[in-house]
């Protein structure tokens, strides 16, 4: 098991190198000059020259890449062009915010998607199944930002139940923290719940059709035990993979959700950084996201093995 994990981690290194090259070069291809964006309305030539020099933007691009990656390997992600803050501390400040949002969204998604998926599979082709499908489809097709603004207008402005936007760290004020996060997490989780529901349903359906379920039923096992113990555990495998992959989607969705609800997380950090051509921040965030994604996939694979004894032999 440990060798397996070790091997996977080693394999991640070339992936990360490729990603770092992409992250670096793609934004060099972006039109727009970071220094012009930074020099302010006046665009003082003296300031521009100084800044170009300071951030080594006059050097050849290849050199710039090696300066950057060399520093990154030593744990120095550079300094934000916009606010002079170290990128690593910005990331450390924003990451917990997005993780909290992602976890809460995932809880919503799992709590809504999986039970409804099971129910729809068990009650296949009844009105329950149809309603679940309609709800799932609407969850998938309603855009995030529209849903977010509608919720703000209804829940915060009309009813005054929850704060309209903002963020409070969980450990400084847990109640307020949850209050500010409920709406964004719900919006973000809803689309995922729909995907999860559809997959749970089809995965459950194929398991319910298998021979051993028929055997279990023939033996007189209660329906509840058949569904939850015999079917669901087997149906869970593809759902675990999906959940891990969906974490990637969560990060992407967080970009929009954080913009709407003004949550100072990862998504907002990267959007603002792209618009300000804050190179060091964009590169740092992309690299960290890639690392997170690779780790999530590794976790999924390990969980897979733990859930499915047949896989252990293959290691």
């Amino acid at each position: 098991m440990y060798t397996y994990i070790g091997k996977r981690l080693l394999l991640a290194i070339p992936t990360l190198i490729i990603i770092s090259i992409f992250a670096f070069s793609l934004q060099k291809l972006l039109p727009g000059d970071p220094i012009l964006a930074m020099a302010g309305e006046e665009r003082d030539p003296q300031v521009i020259e100084f800044l170009r020099d300071k951030y080594r933007l006059n050097d050849p691009v290849v050199y710039q890449y090696f300066y950057w990656i060399g520093a990154v390997v030593q744990g120095d992600f550079g300094i934000s062009l916009r606010t002079n803050q170290p990128v690593l501390s910005l990331i450390a400040e924003k990451l917990p915010v997005t993780i909290q949002l992602a976890i809460m969204a995932m809880i919503f998604a799992l709590a809504i998607g999986v039970p409804i998926g099971i129910l729809a599979a068990v009650k296949k082709n009844t009105w329950i199944d149809y309603v679940a499908n309609i709800v799932a489809l609407s969850g998938l097709s309603v855009p995030n930002f529209w849903m977010g603004i509608m919720l703000i207008l209804l829940v915060s402005v009309k009813l005054g139940w929850l704060p309209a936007s903002g963020y409070e760290p969980f450990f400084s004020d847990p109640v307020r923290s949850l209050q500010t996060m409920i709406m964004p997490a719900f919006v973000l989780g809803l689309a995922l719940a729909a995907t999860l529901m559809r997959h749970t349903r089809s995965s459950m359906l194929s398991v319910l059709r298998s021979d051993y379920i028929r055997t279990a039923r023939a033996k007189g096992v209660s329906e509840q035990a058949v569904i939850l113990q015999h079917s669901f555990r087997n149906a869970l495998l593809p759902i675990v993979t999906l959940t891990a992959l969906l974490f990637g989607e969560l990060l992407a969705g967080a970009v929009l959700t954080e913009q709407i609800f003004t949550i100072p997380g990862f998504g907002k950090l990267i959007v603002d950084a792209v618009f300000n051509r804050d190179y060091a921040v964009v590169q740092g965030v992309v690299l960290c996201t890639a690392i997170g994604f690779i780790l999530m996939n590794l976790v999924a694979d390990v969980l897979y093995v733990l859930l499915n004894p047949r896989m252990r032999a293959a290691l």
């Binding site: 727009g32 930074m38 030539p45 003296q46 100084f50 903002g166 913009q259 100072p264 618009f275």
Partner: protein
């Protein structure tokens, strides 16, 4: 037992109620500020934060006249090359360092010499600054520059603690220490900037807010929703399209004023090969384009009547506006005639526009207006950072961008249209205009300056390198409980006299 419980309840109640005595004002900003160092800062919202955090040598009033702040009095020498300022006594910075002439000298020198400083061009005319008494300084200039006072009424005149500046250098912005009515408490990037009242402020009797929180909320709808739900007390730059919602909400108030900036189209006159087209070469075509625009209709449709139509770098209500050149009414026939004279029936033009909905809407309307005169305009929606670099590089034919405006008329004109102007992206160059605008800097007599600006306005209105479209309003919306707020055309939020109840 009952008594104990009662006392406990009282104590807990008192502790819980205590923060209620402190008046907190929460202000929603359209963007997050950049680095909080007046010498390095460049954003508009940054200046809003400084207005609470850092006092300046001088300030402006609602009419944009220069008024005392940290300097109580000043005097120009006869030839306009020396400015002597008397300073306010008994002022301290937030760290206890006293404010005096030495502090002013240290600040101006920091702005002039700090490698990261963005203030250098604003202070180029200053040769030396020296303390000639404990509370008196003398600025000696390279050449007469009356615009210096306007510069000192903004970031170049903001005084930071020389002790903190020396200790922190370029990192000063992480914990800014100034002498304004509020001192810095904390900042969470993209989330909030928190300040609290500075009890030793020289004008503390006029400050009624104890804690001030700035929250950047870029989405205008969400910003307004926060105000309506009570999460904000005030917001800046309300979208014109939301004004009706504010007016009809009985818990909200608003204030507005025409701003000192302008909206304009920049025609590439001589910036690289793309200037080599009929529109860049022939002023009659630019005049025709301008005549084909119904500026008042644009104001009504896009800005719900909150902006004003304009054809100069200052709004028609400004004392610097040249009344001999009124805002032109739309005249398609005359536009067509001018085009014919220039030898064109139809003309293709590519117009670069920032890709925000309001700017796009405005340019689509103008696109259809000028089409009637024969201009076939293609709109090129461009993300702002890209637009800026294309404009500087000359990779455009006609470009829409706006200027936030400066207190002195010089700041709205000189750098855009003089031959060596720092942001002369159109590369217009006319020695006559240069001479007029340079002369206008030298006189301390506003009547003389006005003559020069009027003469320049007439030439520019004929050559038309920049097609001015109008001037937007700044609109602030706030809770009814917030009183005493006065709108200033520079868009800053001055909290002197502002109270909050309920």
């Amino acid at each position: 037992m009952k008594t104990a419980r009662f006392i406990a309840t009282l104590v807990v109640g008192a502790i819980l109620a205590f923060p209620a005595f402190a008046t907190e004002l929460k202000i929603g900003l359209q963007d997050d500020a950049d680095v909080l160092d007046p010498a390095q800062s460049r954003t508009f919202v940054g200046r809003i934060v400084y207005t609470a955090l850092c006092d300046k040598l001088v300030d402006v009033n609602q009419k944009l006249d220069i008024v005392p702040q940290l300097a109580t009095d000043w005097k120009w020498s006869e030839d306009g090359t020396e400015l002597v300022m008397d300073l306010r006594q008994g002022v301290t910075f937030h760290d206890g360092t006293p404010f005096n002439a030495a502090a002013v000298v240290a600040n101006i020198e920091r702005s002039k010499t700090l490698p990261e400083s963005r203030r250098k061009s604003e202070l180029t005319s200053v040769k030396t600054v020296e303390a000639i008494g404990d509370y008196q300084v003398r600025f000696t200039l390279n050449s007469p520059d009356v615009t210096l006072l306007a510069q000192l009424s903004d970031r170049a005149g903001m005084m930071v603690s020389p002790k903190a500046a020396a200790e922190m250098g370029a990192n000063f912005g992480n914990k800014p220490i100034c002498s304004g009515p509020f001192k810095f408490v904390e900042r969470v990037q993209q989330d909030r900037i928190v300040l609290e009242k500075f009890p030793q402020y020289w004008n503390a009797a006029n400050i009624f807010i104890d804690k001030l929180t700035f929250l950047p909320i870029p989405d205008t709808t969400v910003r307004l929703a926060n105000l309506q739900s009570g999460d904000l007390d005030m917001l800046e730059r309300l979208a014109a399209s939301d004004l009706d919602a504010v007016k009809s909400d009985s818990s909200l108030n608003y204030a507005d004023t025409i701003n000192i900036g302008y909206m304009a189209l920049y025609a590439n006159i001589a910036n690289g090969p793309r200037a080599d087209n009929p529109f860049g070469k022939d002023k009659r075509l630019r005049q025709a384009f301008s005549l084909a625009i119904d500026r008042e209709a644009v104001n009504q449709v896009v800005y719900e009547g909150t902006s004003v139509a304009g054809n100069q770098p200052y709004a028609p209500n400004s004392p610097w506006f040249d009344k001999d050149i009124p805002v032109p009414a739309r005249d398609v026939e005359k536009a067509k005639a001018l085009m014919k004279e220039a030898g064109h029936e139809k003309l293709d033009i590519e117009l670069q526009v920032p890709n925000n909905p309001v700017a796009m809407q405005m340019m689509q309307i103008i696109q259809s207006m000028v089409a009637e005169a024969g201009f076939n305009v293609t709109l090129k929606a461009t993300e702002f950072a890209t637009l800026l670099s294309e404009q500087t590089a000359g990779n455009y034919q006609l470009s829409r961008s706006d200027w936030s405006g400066r207190v002195d008329p010089d700041g709205n004109l000189h750098q855009f249209v003089t031959c060596k102007g720092g942001i002369n992206d159109v590369k217009y160059c006319n020695p006559e205009v240069d001479a007029l605008l340079n002369d206008a800097r030298k006189s301390t007599d506003n009547a003389v300056r006005k003559q020069k600006y009027d003469a320049a306005a007439k030439i520019l209105n004929d050559d038309m390198p920049v097609i001015y479209l109008g001037h937007q309003s700044y609109i602030w919306a706030f809770k009814k409980g917030v009183t005493g707020f006065v709108p200033y055309p520079d868009g800053m939020i001055r909290l002197q006299g502002v109270k909050k109840s309920g």
